[in-house]
């Protein structure tokens, strides 16, 4: 089967998600290495101008499926989208145009869609990929397993394959191209009311300005920030605000009810790969490391010099959090 790549990009609240650029960039580079074509697909009603921003990262041809037109196929109106129907639309488009490789982001939505599309398109799926290599003209994926304690190289035994790429790991590289957008005729995708098996009725965004899963910088707090039975979130918050970071938390902090679960980083929380991760008062249990060890730069602040977090950290300060964090905030303020 001849290689042909489809890059599926996500939008959120009338905007492209940041990882759309990584996916386009990864697709462009993979297409160049395999010497094949690649297209971009979005299911959205955002403006063409917004979609064309992906042209900066090498997108030449973007296919747009109108979410409104797709949803209309359900015969209902009172919902925002349907996971099952979106997966059918992507699958049918993939088959219709004869693609052999699908790249998408391993976000919570991407991870939901990818296995569904795999079954419908008879493709293999390799999830949460952190590296794509080419061996004998075939794509091989590298991904972490066992909470990041080991990596595996995985190959597919099928003609067609889907890779979901871990967000923030693949770089968005500028490569400006002339971009054209083609609206996909919804009738060509053969969607029926039967394909709508779930209905998203409401999306509640957390009150946090920035969510850990989208953030390029994260400041996380752990048990060490408790003093006199109070969790001193204000220290984390001020540092985070200073450098434009999201605030995260360790499991201990969430279990104690000091911070909401939405902030939890680690095995029972979110997996993140920001450019900068500052861990304050977090000892670095394997479950926490599983969620953040692929961050590009890790800074640890802890009073315990033997805390395992220091073995993963690129930089660290051993000291009293209640002195070090405000000092660090002050130093950042001087230069930002």
């Amino acid at each position: 089967m001849e290689n042909k790549i489809l890059a599926y990009i996500e939008t959120k609240q009338d905007k492209l998600k940041n990882n759309a650029y990584e996916i386009v960039s990864a697709a462009r580079q993979t297409a160049e290495r395999l010497n094949c074509e690649f297209d971009v697909l979005a299911i959205t009603d955002i403006s063409d101008e917004d979609l064309k921003i992906t042209g900066k990262y090498g997108a030449e041809k973007i296919y747009k499926v109108s979410l409104k037109e797709l949803n209309a196929k359900s015969g209902k109106t009172d919902f925002i989208y349907s996971y099952s129907a979106n997966a059918v639309a992507i699958s049918n488009f993939f088959i219709l145009k004869g693609y052999s490789i699908l790249l998408l982001s391993a976000t919570m939505t991407g991870r939901d869609s990818a296995p569904r599309i795999a079954i419908k398109t008879e493709s293999a799926i390799i999830p949460d990929v952190t590296e794509l290599e080419i061996e004998n003209e075939k794509l091989i994926a590298v991904r972490p397993v066992y909470a990041g304690k080991s990596n595996v190289k995985v190959k597919h035994k099928t003609d067609k394959v889907i890779f979901s790429l871990r967000p923030n790991v693949f770089k968005a590289i500028l490569n400006e191209k002339e971009t054209t957008i083609e609206n996909v005729n919804i009738d060509s995708l053969n969607i029926s009311a039967y394909d709508f098996k779930d209905f998203v009725k409401e999306i509640k965004l957390s009150s946090a300005k920035l969510d850990v899963s989208d953030a390029d910088r994260i400041v996380s707090g752990g048990r060490g920030l408790r003093k006199d039975d109070v969790y001193h979130y204000e220290l984390i918050e001020e540092l985070a605000n200073t450098i434009g970071a999201a605030t995260g938390a360790s499991r201990a902090v969430v279990d104690a009810g000091w911070r909401p679960q939405i902030e939890q980083v680690g095995q029972t929380g979110k997996t993140v790969s920001p450019s900068l991760y500052i861990a304050c008062g977090i000892s670095g249990a394997i479950q926490h490391l599983a969620g953040m060890s692929s961050s590009k730069c890790i800074v640890a602040i802890n009073k315990d010099k033997d805390a395992p977090i220091f073995q993963t950290a690129d930089y660290g300060i051993i000291g009293d959090l209640f002195e070090v964090i405000p000092e660090l905030t002050k130093e950042f303020k001087k230069v930002l």
């Binding site: 919570m108 569904r116 799926i125 990041g148 595996v152 998203v200 070090v324 000092e327 130093e331």
Partner: protein, 249 residues
Amino acid sequence: MKIAVCISYVPDSITKIKISDTGKSISGDGVSYILNPYDEFAVEEAVRTKEKFGGEVYAISFGTEKDRDVIKKAFQQGADKGIFILSENENYDSYTVAKNLADTIKKLSPDIIFTGKQSIDFDGYLVPNFLSEILELPSVNITTKLEISDNNVKAERDTEGGKETIEFKLPAIITTQKGINEPRYPNIKSIMAAKSKPIETIKAKFNDSLTEITEMKIPPLKSRGKIFSNSTSDAGELVRLLREEAKII
């Protein structure tokens, strides 16, 4: 109500991983296995659903001989019956697991199927949505809240930056996330009761896999970073390094 819960046995996350002689998997020596933590929420939700609506909870698992005991863990948490799908082949992937589970679930024809949002060994998030496609059922993932009335379900799930409310009809697959419930600890009574609960063993019918691991490696230890422990002056030096050396600020 007929309730199914799909579970898996995974190495405890504190286990030290060693690579086996094949270089493609972990060595089983000294590994202790636990019920996948997200499946604990699934078993608990299954048992709570039974307590509310009546019926029976079937714990279903796929694996090799060493995985059989996982069913007992679900019994201790309140599951009633067990089905263990025994694979003689160790080289399977998520697709193999899903194909076999789907076959068993189809015959059982449950009203609702629970499973953990991911298993902490391979973290693929694949099996639940493979199942939903093979069985043509709705699937709602990373669920933190569930309300069932008759055939109608309203669920809340985690998504990037918030929560979504989703409506769908039973039968359906629901994957559980921390927050949906507090799993109960087995007590003496439930541990004793678990001993007499029946496990049906069936042989895996499907052996096909779509992917193959060609190599497994332990990532090299990071060389130790620059760690300071002098005084408050460290903060200034750290900010300088983040700007000038790491170039991320």
